[in-house]
């Protein structure tokens, strides 16, 4: 093997090893003990693939590549390091959108480069053009879709499902327009240039990304982010097809497939069909429910001092943290409450609904940040039988995940969703900001139950008061 041949083989070898590292990384990411190293393994794979790329033949502009990497690294690093753990879902969405945009730009670039050489239909032309068109479509949809999801979670765009007349028809027309533009770019007549078709294609796909995500309510954003995540994976894979780059095909497809499975798992946890999330039905259901809501019943209030007595002398307390706790940044206070109660000999456990917070597993991350011991966090299946023995269930900023309507009311939009059986506890304390309905806009019968007492107020303030009272016992 000559020196040149050796150098030529390095990138391929790097890609091969990188692909293996991605697979190992994902594998390790799916088990709690090895997860962190899995992430590092994948990162090393990425570094290898990038390093190998520099040794590809016909490469130049090295200085510029490094400059662009530096420009991208700094904000990426800072954003990721500084973001509050509560804002993580939108951060993932934002980074996902960047990946989508990257695939879009590459596909456009490839198209510009390729178009003059290809005339007439041939295998090579199809093999190059078809994935590239897909790359433009997937990349565009992930890009704008992720930005809208980011905006919704960040509060820049209304979290409410936005609806307008003819929504589905507009989307179908858009999708058909995309098909037409894609077809047009391949078989350009004298009237329309292929470039026009490609531009139209990209614009329509960008628009579709926006219109597809806007009508989806904030509660469903985790699923949307997961869908868009696999969409970007696919975009990376098809771009890899166009560029005949093995590592891109493998890594992109891995993410596309794993992301799709993850989406299905999340939907299962929320008992929502994927089709319903994407094509919507929540908004209408919510309104119907409001009409049958129990507005004639009353909610009974309680003071922090009374809660302290109730919990301080209980044998077993189950804490149900929800997004309200995360928003108020009260995870440290809840941990303090847990320690205060444990010191008094109270058994304290946390009941974690699979979708507590805004993404599956989000609440676990938040509580782990506050040093809550891992074994105290119990999954829904583990904790549900224990509610009947619990003296007090403290619901902090959670709503839909403890709504008994999911068990009892077939008319409710969340009917069938697995919930935490907080209503089975002997006493239920609900710490809540106000009397309003939750994320999904559904009335919660639990709040009106005979065993339920409401402690109104911001989770942070309420917990501070509660902790002071428990200390004073």
């Amino acid at each position: 093997m000559t020196k040149d041949q050796f150098i030529a083989a390095i990138p391929e070898a790097a890609y091969l090893i990188a692909s293996l590292l991605f697979i190992f990384g994902l594998k390790r990411l799916s088990s709690p003990r090895t997860a962190r190293s899995g992430n590092l393994v994948a990162a090393v794979g990425m570094g290898l693939a990038l390093g190998g790329t520099f040794l590809l033949p016909d490469m130049g502009n090295f200085g510029w590549i490094i400059l662009a990497i530096v420009i991208g690294s700094i904000p990426g690093w800072l954003l990721a390091k500084r973001v509050k753990m509560t804002a993580m879902p939108q951060m993932v969405s934002l980074f996902n959108g960047m990946g989508g945009a990257c695939a879009l730009f590459i596909s456009l670039d490839e198209w510009l480069k390729g178009s003059p050489h290809f005339t007439g239909l041939s295998d090579t032309r199809l093999a190059h053009t078809f994935p590239m068109l897909l790359g433009i479509v997937f990349g565009s949809i992930s890009f704008t879709g992720s930005l809208v999801a980011f905006g919704k979670l960040q509060g820049l765009v209304s979290e409410k499902p936005l609806r307008w007349p003819g929504q589905k028809i507009i989307n179908i027309v858009l999708a058909m327009g995309i098909l037409a533009a894609a077809g047009g770019s391949g078989s350009a007549g004298p009237q329309v240039s292929p470039t026009t078709c490609i531009v139209v294609l990209a614009v329509l796909a960008l628009l579709l990304g926006v219109l597809q995500v806007l009508p989806i309510g904030g509660a469903d954003m985790p699923v949307v982010i997961s869908v868009l995540n696999s969409c970007t994976g696919l975009a990376a894979a098809v771009t890899g097809f166009a560029m005949q780059n093995m590592s891109m095909i493998i890594a992109g497809t891995l993410v596309g497939a794993a992301g799709s499975l993850l989406t299905v798992l999340m939907c299962k946890a929320m008992n929502r069909s994927l089709a319903k999330v994407i094509f919507g039905s929540f908004g209408g259901g919510g309104q119907a429910q409001a009409a049958t809501g129990s507005s004639d019943k009353t909610q009974r209030e309680i003071t922090a001092a009374e809660v302290a007595i109730m919990a301080g002398y209980a044998r077993k307390v189950i804490i149900i943290p929800g997004y309200g706790l995360a928003v108020a940044q009260a995870q440290h206070l809840v941990h303090e409450l847990e320690e205060l109660l444990e010191k008094r000999g109270v058994e304290v456990k946390y009941a974690i609904h699979p979708v507590a917070g805004r993404m599956p597993g989000h609440m676990n991350v938040l509580l782990a940040e506050a040093d809550v011991p891992y074994p105290k966090l119990l999954d829904m299946e583990e904790i549900n039988p224990e509610f009947e023995q619990a003296d007090v269930a403290i619901v902090i900023g959670a709503n839909d995940v403890v709504n008994p309507a999911a068990r009892t009311d077939p008319g409710s939009p969340i009917y069938g969703m697995p919930i935490l059986n907080a209503d089975k506890a002997k006493n239920i304390i609900v710490i809540k900001r106000g009397r309003g309905t939750g994320f999904a806009g559904i009335e919660n019968g639990l709040f009106f139950g005979p065993k339920t007492r409401m402690l109104f107020g911001d989770a942070k303030k309420a917990l501070q008061e509660l902790n002071t009272e428990v200390k004073a016992l």
Binding site: G25, G76, P375
Partner: protein
Amino acid sequence: MSMSSLAMIYIFILAIFTGVEVISRVPTVLHTPLMSGANAIHGIVLIGGAIVLGRAGDNGVLFALGFIAVILGTLNVVGGFVVTDRMLEMFKAKPTAKKEDAK
């Protein structure tokens, strides 16, 4: 180096099964970090961006598109891996360290 389309399709299909298989037993707790980690991995588009930029020569449009693509891809990769690491950092060390003083 060029590959036949058929070979690429084989790889594509096998990768789909691999992707599903490796994460099929993930516990709910890890859904968010896993999504975030997968998000970082599709940052592989960065490689495509680097190739495009590296082969742009002195064509201004190709160069500009490639340059932007590399910046965006890097954001995806760096942000993705760092944010995932931050999430997992909290998961790890604590339970083992805390378990002892809790008992």
